[in-house]
């Protein structure tokens, strides 16, 4: 068993403190009774009660959740197809272009993705609103799903699928009966990731949204632009909770590997 040196331990402790303290501070401040954010006035759930009365904010939250459900589902289907195509179909015409588009949209600044999608919608005179944001989020999130599922597909070899094909299964049946169960945890993790991405996005939604589709991040942004607000601490704490649970669930799912478990039984 290896032992951590004092230096390694220190790096880990400081690193995790840096990553987590700001979130902890935010959650603590959301329970601050004082209306001045920086002055501590004792514990209170006042700002959470205040939120319940803020109808536009609640509307925005529901729009964001609906949006995340729609775009995560579409992104998971498209992203899984892309991952299968990239890892299982050998070389096909335009394979590297598909890979290039996926990696480029992962790293390209949001502001470019947002602007270019908006200009497409304008060029084809499509009215902007809920569905244009959904298309934009699907496009971004499917690339994240593709990378997550692809990592899983590379992880296990093709023997199982080849065995199924040798036994006479059609490619479609092989996919449904063999490949899909094996990659399901990664597919589910990809869905949750896409959900979190959509719930969180400000820049792309700002470009592609229209009347009646103001998402939660757009509302939060316009509220905090000019400074911190106690209600926003409460909204943000709730979002941290929701997204945090989704991501922990996703990572547990990604670890769950039916293939490995079955192998261990032999």
């Amino acid at each position: 068993m290896r032992k951590l040196s004092a230096f390694n331990l220190m790096a880990l402790l400081l690193g995790f403190a840096f990553l987590y303290l700001p979130i902890v501070i935010l959650v603590i401040y959301s329970f601050n009774a004082s209306s001045l954010v920086a002055v501590w006035g004792g514990w209170s759930t006042h700002w959470y009660a205040e939120l319940a009365k803020d109808a536009p904010l609640i509307d925005a939250a529901f729009i964001s959740i609906r949006l995340a459900l729609v775009s995560a589902t579409a992104a998971t289907i498209l992203g899984t197809c892309a991952a299968v195509a990239l890892t299982r179909y050998g070389r096909f015409h335009g394979r590297s272009l598909l890979g290039a588009m996926i990696y480029a949209s992962l790293v390209l600044p949001d502001i470019i993705t947002g602007l270019s999608l908006l200009l497409v919608f304008v060029a084809f005179s499509i009215d902007r609103g809920f569905w244009t944001v959904a298309v934009a989020h699907t496009t971004l999130a499917m690339c994240f799903v593709a990378v997550v599922v692809q990592a899983r597909l590379i992880d296990f070899d093709m023997e199982l699928e080849e065995a199924a094909m040798d036994l006479g299964a059609t490619p479609l049946r092989t996919f449904v009966a063999v490949t899909l169960p094996l990659i399901l945890p990664a597919v589910a993790a990809g869905w949750l990731l896409a959900f979190a991405l959509s719930l969180d996005d400000l820049v792309i939604a700002s470009f592609t949204t229209g009347p009646g589709a103001t998402t939660l991040p757009i509302r939060i942004y316009s509220a905090v632009r000019l400074g911190v607000k106690p209600e926003m601490n409460a909204v943000c704490s709730i979002m941290v909770g929701v997204v945090g649970i989704a991501v922990i669930a996703a990572s547990l799912l990604a670890k769950f590997n039916p293939a490995r478990r079955k192998r261990a039984q032999f």
Partner: protein, 303 residues
Amino acid sequence: MTGSQKRTFAQKLVIWIPYAWLLVFFLVPFLIVLKISLSHFALARPPYTPVLDLSAGWHGIAAFIAGLSFDSYALIGSDPLYLLSLAKSVEIAAFSTLLLLVIGYPIAYGIARAPRRLHAALVVLVMLPFFTAFLIRIYAWMDILQRDGPLNQLLMALDIVREPPVWLATDTAVYIGIVYSYLPFMVLPLYASLEKLDESLLEAAADLGCRRWQVFWRVTLPLSSPGVRAGALLCFIPAVGEFVIPDLLGGSQTPMIGQTLWTEFFGNKDWPTAAAVAVVLVILLVTPILLLQFQAMQATDRG
């Protein structure tokens, strides 16, 4: 499976549906951005001319081509605002990437040296903040860096400073924001390559008389260079076009290029100039993106 084999209809669909989606919503949009960057600003809907009128046939296309102009690019080239803003973005992104490397390396190294059963949990712990709402994590720093915020309270209590320093609306705050939000992008690829490192090489170097820092400098660091490259590219590329972090934490002296684009589009409603800024930004980022993609595809094919 080889490429020469005949594909079933279902397989063709699996390839072509995501392919077509990305072509329509990722590649075509770029061509349209390029086209609009060559248009004139106009007080119309949409706010640019010429608009391609295919119903007018060849005549319409000819009129469209005659109407294209490089005015927006000339504006970007001549107005120092754009060049300064570009230079500032590259400077901030490059320096942040360096900071991220220096801060991320010890963390990745610590995870790679930890007992193996802890690896998965530690990796999740690094990833978790990345997915807990980016906007909110930047907002948390607005709380912390306020004049009377927790950071200054701590510094005053420890007698490190007498007067509360100003953090918000400075470049320092932007660096803190970028390092904080992009840290997982740096740590994960570094960890991936450090984890594969063969420890017997380190022992061999030590046996042959290398000091600890020499082992690090001559063995560990060169062997982790794929991780360093991937991490640096993953951080640098999006950081150049960052909008939210400089907008919420930074000052108003020199905006980053993402803010300039945002202002042109939402403030001045000058779509051709905003599109031209986007094109310049993409040209600037094409090389790093291709490098990243090359590395990623290599890894896929090896697996």
